[in-house]
């Protein structure tokens, strides 16, 4: 058992409140629709329609419907310049800013892996004269860059905060939230906007397919017969604020973030150390940062991609550190949205705290032999949820864990 602080020893630094949140994902537009999908254990994975996938093993993904994204166009004078993921960011930020009150961030820290990648694809196909785009080349070039969707969203709401865009592969969103948390906790910042975004693109979809990391059938996190992931997309935003400052201005406190752990597992560029040492180090780091014991965690939102390697390593690490804590991966319902995943899952964790909900791990039949995990199988459950740990791990051996807690806890 690692050497943890006693939970009676508070961590140094300021307490960090989540004062607003917004989300767009295959589970729905906004917190209410997302909560409904979680309660209903909704499977939001569907056949891919935006590009040709007939030569791929996997042909499904969690997708955000384009028709509903059009609402974002009113925030941009030249809406044809907006990438889909910028539209997602605008709508997620709109929801958050509606709750945030007088929240002007001093810094924005967001995660993404590929920003407006499909504009880059259109540009290249245009060069090859395969499929000329209706958009002019300068528009595609200026708007495909990873930071641009965030710039568009900030400009839509008059936010001028400097932007740090973290591209730590699939851990980007959790890394962004974790770094934003540390910025406020250190006292160097009072208010930081954070989250993540990513949209499905052909290049990335085919990339995971080429690695045989994505599945031909259903995505079954932690199931012994799991055969891989499905991709997803979305955007999620959290407004973090110094707790005392938030209270002084009468902000609604949705939850606190109390811990963050990060580790780098140098085992392989695309595979985790099978021992689970990377995830273990990240989770231990988060617990130490929060100055709490493993027994104080009531629910774990796992990375749980449903790839054989990830779930084996993460499952081992969870089983080693925790004793019977309910665990689920929500990626079976919505797919893996890469740079957005950690941010969307932080919001799912927030909803779990607010509504005493254990989100479901759908498509689960039976777990790995010898790995003792308490999976929230197939249907949402109610439970006493005061403290939640959320994991994200990615290519490059990057591992991140954050801990959220109800203010009343």
């Amino acid at each position: 058992m690692p050497d943890f602080f006693s939970s009676s020893h508070g961590p140094n630094g300021a307490r960090v409140a989540v004062v607003a949140a917004g989300v767009v994902s295959p589970l729905g537009f906004g917190l209410a629709e997302t909560l409904r999908s979680l309660h209903e254990s909704k499977d939001c994975v569907s056949p891919v329609t935006t590009f040709v996938v007939d030569r791929c093993r996997c042909q499904t993904a969690g997708q955000v419907p384009d028709a509903l994204l059009a609402e974002a166009n009113q925030y941009q004078r030249r809406p044809e310049r907006l990438h889909r993921v910028a539209q997602m960011m605008i709508l997620a930020l709109k929801e958050a800013m509606a709750q945030a009150g007088a929240f002007q961030p001093e810094l924005t820290v967001m995660g993404t892996t590929s920003g407006g990648m499909t504009f880059g694809e259109q540009y290249y196909r245009g060069l090859e004269a395969k499929q000329p785009s209706s958009r002019p080349a300068p528009t595609l070039i200026a708007n495909y860059t990873p930071q641009k969707p965030l710039m568009d969203a900030q400009q839509a709401f008059g936010i001028g905060a400097p932007c740090q865009i973290i591209a730590n592969a699939c851990a980007s969103g959790t890394n962004a939230i974790g770094h934003a948390f540390n910025c406020v906790r250190s006292g160097r910042y009072q208010r930081v906007l954070t989250g993540g975004y990513d949209a499905i693109s052909e290049l990335v979809f085919v990339g995971f397919d080429s690695l045989q990391a994505s599945t031909q059938e259903r995505c079954r996190p932690f199931d012994s017969d799991r055969s891989g992931m499905v991709l997803g997309e979305g955007a999620a935003v959290l407004a973090l604020e110094n707790l005392e400052a938030a209270k002084r201005r009468g902000a609604t406190i949705l939850a606190e973030i109390i811990g963050y752990g990060i580790s780098t597992d140098n085992f392989h560029l695309t595979q985790p150390d099978p021992s689970g040492s990377g995830p273990l180090q990240a989770m231990e780091g988060a617990l130490k940062s929060a100055a709490i014991l493993p027994g104080e965690i009531d629910y774990i939102n796992a990375h749980g991609t449903a790839t054989p390697f990830n779930d084996a390593a993460e499952g081992k690490a969870i089983a080693r550190l925790f004793d019977g804590v309910p665990v689920s991966s929500t990626k079976g319902m919505m797919g893996h949205s890469l740079g957005a995943a950690g941010a969307i899952e932080a919001i799912i964790s927030l909803l779990a705290l607010q509504h005493q909900l254990l989100p479901p791990n759908i498509n689960f039949r039976h777990g790995d032999e010898g790995v003792d995990l308490n999976i929230v199988a197939n249907a949402a459950q109610t439970g006493s949820v005061r403290t939640v740990l959320s994991n994200s791990f990615g290519f490059g051996g990057t591992n991140a864990s954050i801990i959220l807690r109800s203010l009343a806890a």
Binding site: Y123, E128, P146, Q147, K148, P162, C163, H179, T264, G396
Partner: protein, 359 residues
């Protein structure tokens, strides 16, 4: 909290090694352009890293199939550690973070990977190439080679991303769990980028790069890496980093740059390391310098090294630090004492930041 530059390293079109490149800059040398042919029939000038500059790259398995970015970054990163006389044993590595700044990323492998999809279909896509297209692949290789097991972040953005990475490093070092933070920025050149910047009307068709010339005639892309090891002590102190701001349109860059200068020039610097590169950036910086620090010596290192985007602001910072350490400047014989320098970094796609150094 005080953050210092403890060590530096760079790989540039003028070679690698702090002293070698610095001496060439002092001698007034500029990189030579090589023309890249695109399959579409155009030729583009770029400043490339000479093969000799990466000859010191270690024979590590992680570099076997890696991109040029990774090799540049490893050589620059190792030089920064050596420059600080720091050996990263496992204990020190635990207390060292890595931040990698990049803009265009592994464009050569990304283009190859996607080209196969476009030409032959998804079934032709190579599983060997895809992992190297991911933005944090170079950081992963570097962390593996250095043995860094704690915090490692890849930051993406435009030409200001290196300064934003230094700001992030300063924030990270607010934690006493860290003694060092290695910030590395790297980029590789390719005809595809040249074609894109040309269509964006930012590229010049042939050298020379002429910063601050009106009208601006465009930039020339380059490649390489810069590495800065931040520590609690070192020869140059980072007095202030402005995380900066953003601008919506190119014509609004002036206001954004001025905001950064207002923050950094409250005490007047002796030197300004400008990001002027022959584009709209020049006018924005020119106006801010004239207004906020008219007497400072101004040097635009992109005239000699080109625009390497992700590596650029680290090159500028290394240039400024080296000027403060050596009390010398290219093109200025016997400059007055150089005590402080402002590094101004305006990117091409909406981000502006800057920092102030003091010796």
């Amino acid at each position: 909290m005080s953050v210092h530059i403890a060590g530096m390293g760079w790989v540039t079109p003028l070679g690698s090694g702090i002293d070698e490149v610095w001496n060439r800059l002092l001698n007034g040398e500029s990189a030579s352009a090589e023309f890249l042919s695109s399959p579409l029939g155009r030729e583009y000038p770029v400043f490339r890293v000479p093969p000799s500059a990466t000859a010191k790259a270690p024979a590590h398995p992680r570099l076997r199939r890696s991109s040029a970015i990774s090799r540049f970054a490893v050589v620059a990163g190792l030089e920064a550690l050596a420059n600080a006389n720091l050996k990263l044993d496992p204990e020190i590595a635990k207390r060292t973070a890595l931040i990698f700044a990049v803009s265009n990323g592994g464009v050569i492998y990304t283009k190859r990977f996607y080209h196969e999809i476009v030409e032959s279909g998804a079934q032709a896509a190579s599983p060997l190439l895809f992992p190297e297209t991911v933005f944090n692949a170079p950081a992963s290789h570097l962390a593996a080679i250095l043995g860094i097991t704690g915090a490692s972040y890849t930051l993406v953005g435009d030409g200001a991303v290196g300064t934003l990475a230094l700001k992030m490093a300063e924030d990270l070092m607010a934690s006493h769990t860290l003694d060092y933070c290695l910030v590395v920025g790297a980029e590789e050149a390719d005809w595809l980028l040249c074609d894109a910047y040309r269509k964006w009307r930012l590229l010049r068709s042939a050298p020379p790069v002429q910063p601050f010339q009106q009208p601006p005639r465009g930039m020339i892309l380059s490649e390489g890496a810069g590495a800065i090891l931040l520590g609690r002590s070192g020869p140059v102190r980072i007095e202030k980093i402005s995380a900066g701001t953003n601008f919506r349109k190119q014509r609004e860059a002036r206001e954004a740059v001025e905001k950064v200068f207002l923050e950094l020039c409250q005490t007047l610097p002796d030197l300004i390391a400008a990001s002027a590169n022959g584009t709209f950036i020049d006018e924005a910086e020119h106006d801010a310098i004239r207004k906020h620090s008219p007497d400072a010596r101004v040097y635009a290192v992109k005239e000699a090294l080109g625009e390497s985007v992700g590596a650029s602001s680290l090159w500028q910072t290394i240039f400024a630090a080296q000027a403060l350490i050596s009390q010398r400047l290219p093109a200025f014989a016997g400059p007055p004492p150089l005590r402080s320098a402002v590094v101004s970094t305006c990117g091409l796609n909406q981000q502006v930041a800057g920092l102030r150094l003091r010796i």
